[in-house]
């Protein structure tokens, strides 16, 4: 088996997946409404409608429209936005970085907190202090993300006026002058990032913490922990060197699914914080039945989620030597 076979495998799966997503979406969106009506406006005459249908090819049978659409897709033409006339995929790609930024920040923060916290909880889960912390985390998990977001806005933006409640700015770059001719650029994050990232990670952290804690507790009951103890290993070695690396396998799987959730779930947070990302775009283009944009969004999200899943699979092989291919 050549080294490229797994890669080919994944690529084949991606192509099949994208084909199914686009096909399904094409027919579902056609059921949702007539794009000619959207384009022409409310008081268009039947003649104007006919003209628009002819212009966009909407008068042809649905199967022909589908084949045309797929033909264009294969050539990299995702259509033009019905609302603005810009290329649909271009519109999506300009919005994507904002979403990725906030998702990345939220996940990074959640991981940084959840792994040590989960390890601490799982090491001796029967202790009273761990039990009460677990209880609190359990309550957090029950609070929906948008509720936390609204509470954060009330406290930090409305009452304390520390942070902006909506909008998005890219960070600035500060030049740190070492000598007169040499300076290091330091990116300064914008204050607008804090609330959206915090409320998202507030939502991600509890489940991740609980998975790390449960897996650590399980790993601590394994035979190899007993072996390590019998070899005189102190508690810290047992936890950080022996139990945690085994516990992270389950956490990696969850992080993969959480990312998929963030891409779709971005809709809620981005609406609350008026964050100009793909979630926001998705709402807008669905409301106006801007099919090419919705289609491009779906393709983009599907590809991202798929790639992250593939990366998660790869990370398993990194974390668990038993999954690495034999023969080297």
């Amino acid at each position: 088996m050549g080294p490229l076979v797994p890669v080919m495998h994944q690529l084949t799966r991606l192509v099949v997946l994208l084909f199914m997503v686009t096909t399904l979406l094409f027919f579902m969106l056609r059921l949702a409404g007539d794009p000619a009506l959207v384009l022409a406006g409310n008081d268009a005459t039947p003649e104007q409608l006919e003209a628009i249908r002819a212009q966009y090819g909407l008068d042809k049978p649905l199967v022909i429209q589908y084949l045309n659409y797929m033909g264009n897709l294969v050539q990299g033409d995702f259509g033009k936005s019905l609302a603005s006339g810009e290329p649909a995929m271009g519109k999506v790609l300009t919005m994507l970085p904002a979403t990725l930024l906030i998702a990345g920040l939220a996940m990074a923060f959640s991981i940084i907190v959840a792994i040590p916290l989960g390890a601490w909880l799982g090491f001796k889960p029967e202790r009273a202090d761990r039990r009460s912390v677990s209880g609190i985390i359990f309550v957090f998990q029950g609070v929906p993300g948008f509720v936390t977001a609204l509470i954060f806005i009330q406290i930090f933006a409305v009452n304390l006026r520390w942070l902006p409640s909506l909008g998005m700015e890219w960070g600035t770059i500060m030049e740190w002058a070492i000598t007169e001719s040499f300076s290091i650029p330091i990116p300064v994050p914008s204050k607008t990032w804090i609330l959206p990232a915090a409320s998202l990670s507030w939502f991600l952290m509890p489940s991740l913490t609980r998975v790390v804690a449960a897996n650590t507790a399980e790993a601590m009951r394994e035979d190899y922990i007993r072996t390590a103890r019998a070899g005189g290993a102190p508690a810290s070695t047992l936890l950080w060197r022996h139990a945690l690396p085994n516990a992270l396998l389950g956490a990696a799987a969850l992080i993969g699914t959480q990312f998929a959730f963030l891409m779709g779930g971005a809709v809620i947070t981005e609406t609350i914080f008026a964050w100009p990302g793909i979630g926001w775009l998705l709402i807008e283009s669905t409301q106006t039945l801007d099919f090419p944009v919705v289609q491009s969004l779906a393709l983009c999200i599907a590809t991202l989620v798929f790639s992250v899943n593939a990366l998660t699979d790869l990370s398993f092989q990194f974390l668990d030597p038993r999954l690495r291919t034999k023969g080297n």
Partner: protein, 562 residues
């Protein structure tokens, strides 16, 4: 006696739980001298592993209560030591070897890290020196390519290799004492023989004392100078191995020895501990003689013919999920069984015996060859006839649905294609219970309410429910204690007598096979290497592998002859 390395005095130990305290050790005393190899032998639940774990205080201190007793290890009072002091002793002056080499090493760390860690923790050496020492230790355990093993992850090594790594680790800091808890139980017999020899050789060259915990009297006989026999948290007998095994005083020890098939007449009834201990375990109860029966030999026509059977498992797949390479588990095997006979397939793990058994009951498809039942391909028979072949699996713990009551488990085969009433099924289950030696009023209980031996009786009852002619028994006693094994072997032989059953008996245990089987087929690397009458094959083996296998089996007789 030389200065004791370990001295336990009147140790009592209780496990605390919400249900109350459970007394695991009832005042045990034990002594191990310098350079001595001492065995503790007992069945599951006797408290032998608790004794071992407690020596290094590895049981969680909050979950146990020790009302009386002292443990002195190398003149340290370990019960008074704190975790820090104990860490210094663990892996240093005293080290342990555990049973399950598959799980006892950390799967995500290389062997090198796991051995080097122990050395660096206890010795004042540089990492380079630790590496050199580790390689030397691995070479000492007769590993031919220490460098490769040192760089490997545990899953890349065989069970025997991993246990060598454990032994290397245990000897890494020149300990005074090694506690080995069932070190060879999970291994194949040929590997077990090598590991036991290795353990003995290493202990003798380094002058290390060994406390060996085992359920296997033959292993004790082969290795130990002295032995303690443990039963329900007490040492019921102790002494020099020769005396205890050659002339046992306590009724439990006698029952344990009598329950071993080794040295008994083939197909005779074996003693069971339950029968011996019913009067209490005072030690002066006279053993009940075992009621013997004459077994009828009824050999009829050929009932099952396996001809050139091949079983393959896919190993690698292509892009479209089609298998492209195969592992051949059964390679052109031909055997046949006559009605009323027992044919044993004997071999070590991975030799293909279970794959073949599964093919007989239709759980595996043959890639080539055929299996004939009463002269006709098994797949061409109607379902009614195919039902005459039933199977009993190895582990009754996992092969019974934990949420089903016994009557449903036992009568499930009767409901295939038919719809008998619940009352009929319950009646059937009650009479099946009687047949396999369970109380008929236990049919509403769940599997976890029974002991391992009773669960295996349930599994046998389930197989018997459709009145089969041929039973495939896949290692039916390997997961059981020896005295329970004796009960099941007695039951199987009685059932065969009564109902004229034919058995295809799968086992790795030569003593059991000699006891129960008329014919034997020895499997090695997917092929049958030798077959014939069991007496003949097992006393005068002609194939090289059969001889190796026979010599590797720990035997009481051979241990004393040496």
């Amino acid at each position: 006696m030389v200065k004791p390395v370990v001295r336990i005095d009147d140790l009592r130990l209780e496990f605390l739980s919400q249900a109350g305290a459970f007394e695991a050790l009832k005042g045990i005393s034990l002594e191990i001298g310098e350079g001595e190899i001492v065995g503790v032998v007992g069945e599951s639940g006797s408290g032998k592993s608790v004794t071992a774990m407690n020596l290094l205080q590895l049981l969680p201190r909050t979950k146990i209560n020790v009302p009386t007793g002292t443990i002195s290890v190398l003149e340290h009072d370990v019960r008074a030591m704190d975790e820090k002091q104990l860490q210094h002793i663990r892996g240093g002056e005293v080290s342990m070897i555990f049973q399950e080499p598959m799980t006892a090493l950390n799967p995500v760390l290389r062997v090198k890290d796991q051995i080097d860690d122990v050395i660096l923790r206890h010795k004042d050496v540089t990492p380079e020196e630790a590496e050199e020492m580790s390689l030397k230790l691995l070479a000492d355990t007769k590993i031919t390519d220490p460098r490769r093993v040192y760089e490997s992850f545990p899953h890349e090594l065989s069970g025997g290799m991993r246990q060598r790594v454990m032994i290397a680790m245990a000897f890494s800091c020149s300990p005074k004492l090694i506690v080995a808890d069932e070190p060879t139980t999970a291994l194949d017999v040929t590997v077990q023989a090598q590991i036991l020899a290795l353990l003995k050789e290493r202990a003798q060259t380094t002058g290390t004392s060994v406390l060996l915990i085992t359920h296997d009297l033959a292993v004790v006989a082969q290795l130990c100078d002295r032995v303690y026999v443990m039963y329900k948290g007490e040492f019921v007998e102790k002494g020099a191995t020769k005396d205890v095994i050659g002339d046992p005083q306590h009724v439990y020890t006698r029952a344990l020895l009598n329950s071993l098939p080794e040295g008994k007449a083939p197909k005779s009834r074996l003693a069971t501990v339950a029968a011996a201990m019913i009067e209490g375990n005072t030690g002066d109860v006279i053993d009940e003689p075992i009621e013997q029966v004459t077994r009828v030999a009824r050999t009829g026509d050929t009932i099952l013919q396996i001809q050139n059977a091949v079983v393959r498992y896919p190993k690698e797949y292509n892009l479209f999920g089609r298998p492209i390479t195969f592992h051949t588990a059964v390679d052109h095997v031909s055997v046949e069984i006559k009605e009323g006979e027992t044919l044993a397939l004997v071999g070590e793990s991975g030799c293909g015996k279970t794959s073949l058994a599964n093919a007989v009951v239709g759980l595996n498809r043959l890639a080539d060859g055929e299996i004939l039942y009463r002269g006709k391909n098994i797949l061409d028979h109607d379902p009614e006839t195919r039902r005459e072949i039933q199977i009993v699996f190895q582990d009754p713990q996992s092969s019974l649905d934990p949420r089903w009551p016994v009557w449903r488990i036992m009568t499930e085969p009767l409901t295939v294609g038919k719809s008998p009433t619940k009352a009929e099924l319950r009646d059937q289950a009650a009479s099946l219970c009687e047949m396999v030696g369970l109380e008929p009023n236990q049919i509403d209980r769940l599997p976890h309410e029974f002991s391992g031996g009773q669960r295996q009786r349930i599994a046998v009852g389930r197989a018997l429910s459709v009145r089969p002619k041929l039973l495939v028994l896949d290692e039916p006693t390997s997961a059981l204690d020896v005295s329970v094994q004796a009960q099941i072997l007695n039951l199987l032989l009685d059932l065969q007598d009564e109902h004229g059953l034919t058995y295809l008996f799968i086992s790795h245990d030569v003593a059991v096979v000699r006891h129960i089987a008329d014919k034997v087929a020895v499997m090695y690397q997917s092929k049958v290497v030798e077959a014939g009458d069991s007496e003949q094959v097992l006393t005068a083996p002609t194939h090289e592998y059969t001889r190796t296998l026979m010599n590797a089996v720990p035997s009481l007789k051979r241990a004393f002859a040496a």
